[in-house]
């Protein structure tokens, strides 16, 4: 089994506050990793460390290493732009860019220099189909992405990441605020996609992790409490904190 990310002794600070503490584990390729944990436990921060989005915040500092395919993504001359093309991200709040549906999907690809309109057309159809949105928008690709419903916007954001053909997809609570049908659509998309991608899914909904994740990690107050196969975590967790959280006995 191939390792995609290797996280070694990771500490992360916002100014003086230590938000992630001594994280150590490996993320296997072509699997879905679910990350669960209460609010404020550092799930989003961890996810954003993987594509260096935390860099945008002044005063962020990390110690330890994150290796992607055995290469340290925090080493000084590492190409962050290339990293973000390899490691795509869908945010908790779906935010299409202020442009048409079509342009949203091809945004990243255009920036990489692809301009052949036939190629782009195909890419748009393929990406929107994979994110289960194509049928709903195929007749209005030129309208603004911001006119879509919340669930559609979330799937559009997934499509624009898929269009980049990344290796890893980070999803931060992609289904919060979505109805069960949209949620099911996104979950379906993910299970199909893991064939080609490594997927890391942060979710506040433990049932969702149980449904789609191969492995599940439990975070609490900046620490990785436990990680294991989803079956094991949800049936025979080793730590009492994990058990309390998944059974809902957690404050």
């Amino acid at each position: 089994m191939k390792t995609k990310f290797h996280i070694k002794d990771l500490d992360l600070f916002f100014k003086e506050e230590k938000v992630l503490k001594q994280i150590n584990f490996e993320i296997p390729a072509n699997k879905i990793l679910g990350i669960i944990g209460p609010s404020g436990s550092g799930k989003t921060t961890f996810l954003r460390a993987l594509n260096r989005m935390n860099d945008l915040e002044d005063g962020t500092r990390i110690e330890g290493n994150i290796l992607l395919d055995e290469e340290d993504i925090y080493k000084p001359d590492y190409d962050v732009v290339a990293l973000r093309k390899k490691v795509g991200m869908v945010f908790a709040m779906p935010v299409p860019l202020p442009m048409s549906i079509y342009e949203n999907v091809v945004y990243g690809v255009r920036l990489s220099g692809v301009n052949d309109s036939k190629l782009l057309d195909e890419l748009v159809e393929k990406s929107l189909t994979a994110s289960y949105l194509w049928d709903e928008v195929k007749d209005r690709l030129k309208t603004s992405g911001m006119r879509l419903s919340g669930g559609q916007q979330q799937r559009l954001c997934l499509a624009r990441v898929l269009a980049m053909e990344p290796e890893v997809i980070l999803l931060d609570e992609p289904c919060s605020g979505l109805d069960p049908i949209s949620t099911a659509k996104i979950e379906d998309a993910l299970t199909v996609l893991k064939k080609d991608y490594t997927i890391i899914l942060v979710t506040n909904n433990t049932k969702q992790a149980a449904r789609v994740a191969d492995n599940t990690a439990f975070f609490l107050m900046g620490e990785l409490i436990e990680i294991g196969s989803t079956g094991q975590i949800f049936t025979t967790p080793n730590r009492i904190e994990t058990n309390d959280y998944i059974t809902g006995r957690f404050g």
């Binding site: 002044d58 732009v81 973000r84 093309k85 860019l97 202020p98 990243g108 920036l111 954001c157 624009r160």
Partner: protein
């Protein structure tokens, strides 16, 4: 008791607002009243489009001053707008927020420097520099454009910064997360989302440039002629009024008021355009 207080405050506020508005109306009425009759008596066409300004011969053509004002304003924009907008983008997108919190008030302080000081620097430093390097009298259209270009920077920069900062952070993050560079994010997303605010900042800067008087009198040279090169001495509409008002009487005085009418209308048009542009942005939000 409380209710009376509330009502009292409301009355006082209304009175203040009303007096500000009526002062504005009174000024407008006064200028129009003094200036408009002259324009119609002398003839709109002769007044606006004749190049003959000779008050002691009864000739009042302000065409050279209109042209000079337009050129000076245009020159100020050519210098101030790109610098200001680029500076605003640099400060918001590349400079850490902690540093920006110091720089922005500093730039806004530039607006508080009296215009006579700008004029002084123009006379002492800029004019000799132009005279020695490019020839001509030094006090010129070019000098006025440069000084005004600097004077409008605070307006352009601070309004542009406000509108760039109003662009949701999520747009930037969305773009960067897709592998865009900071520069690509600026020109594909941020510029588009802040466009109307930037245009408004330039229009307001333009209003400032047209209306500026003291600094322009000091550096523009003030001879009444249609400029053929940036090195020529020019006189703007504002300079014309300020220079001659102190001794003008009769028709001459009315002609100066009429010059004010022309300025007034020009600035009202500009400000209306700016507020329409800004309102359009507010509606879009």
């Amino acid at each position: 008791m409380k209710l009376i207080g509330e009502k009292g405050v409301k009355r006082i506020l209304m009175l203040t607002a009303f007096s500000a508005i009526s002062a504005l109306l009174l000024i407008a009425l006064f200028i129009l009243n003094e200036g408009l009759p002259f324009i119609f008596k002398y003839g709109v066409k002769d007044f606006l489009f004749s190049s003959d300004w000779n008050p002691h011969l009864g000739k009042y053509g302000i065409y050279p001053m209109i042209v000079a004002s337009l050129w000076v304003t245009f020159g100020a924009l050519v210098i101030g707008a790109p610098l200001g907008v680029a500076g605003a983008f640099f400060l918001t997108e590349y400079v850490p927020k902690s540093i920006m919190r110091i720089i922005k008030p500093t730039i806004e302080l530039l607006a508080a420097i009296p215009s006579v000081v700008y004029g002084f620097i123009g006379v002492m430093v800029l004019a000799p520099l132009i005279r020695n390097n490019f020839g001509g009298p030094g006090l010129s259209l070019l000098a006025a454009s440069i000084i005004l270009g600097i004077m409008i920077l605070p307006t352009v920069i601070s309004i542009s910064i406000d509108s760039i900062m109003a662009v949701p952070q999520s747009y930037r993050e969305g773009s960067l997360a897709l592998g865009a560079t900071t520069w690509q994010t600026i020109h594909m997303v941020t510029v588009k989302a802040s466009k109307s605010g930037i245009i408004a900042s330039i229009i307001l800067g333009m209003g400032r440039a047209i209306g500026e008087t003291m600094a322009v009198i000091m550096v523009a040279g003030n001879s009444v002629n249609i400029p053929h090169s940036p090195l020529d001495s020019v006189r703007t509409l504002t300079a014309n009024i300020a220079l001659e008002m102190s001794y003008a009487t009769g028709l001459h005085r009315q002609a100066l008021f009429a010059t004010g009418v022309v300025l007034f209308i020009g600035i009202i048009i500009l400000n209306s355009i700016a507020s329409v542009v800004l309102r359009k942005r507010a509606v879009k939000k």
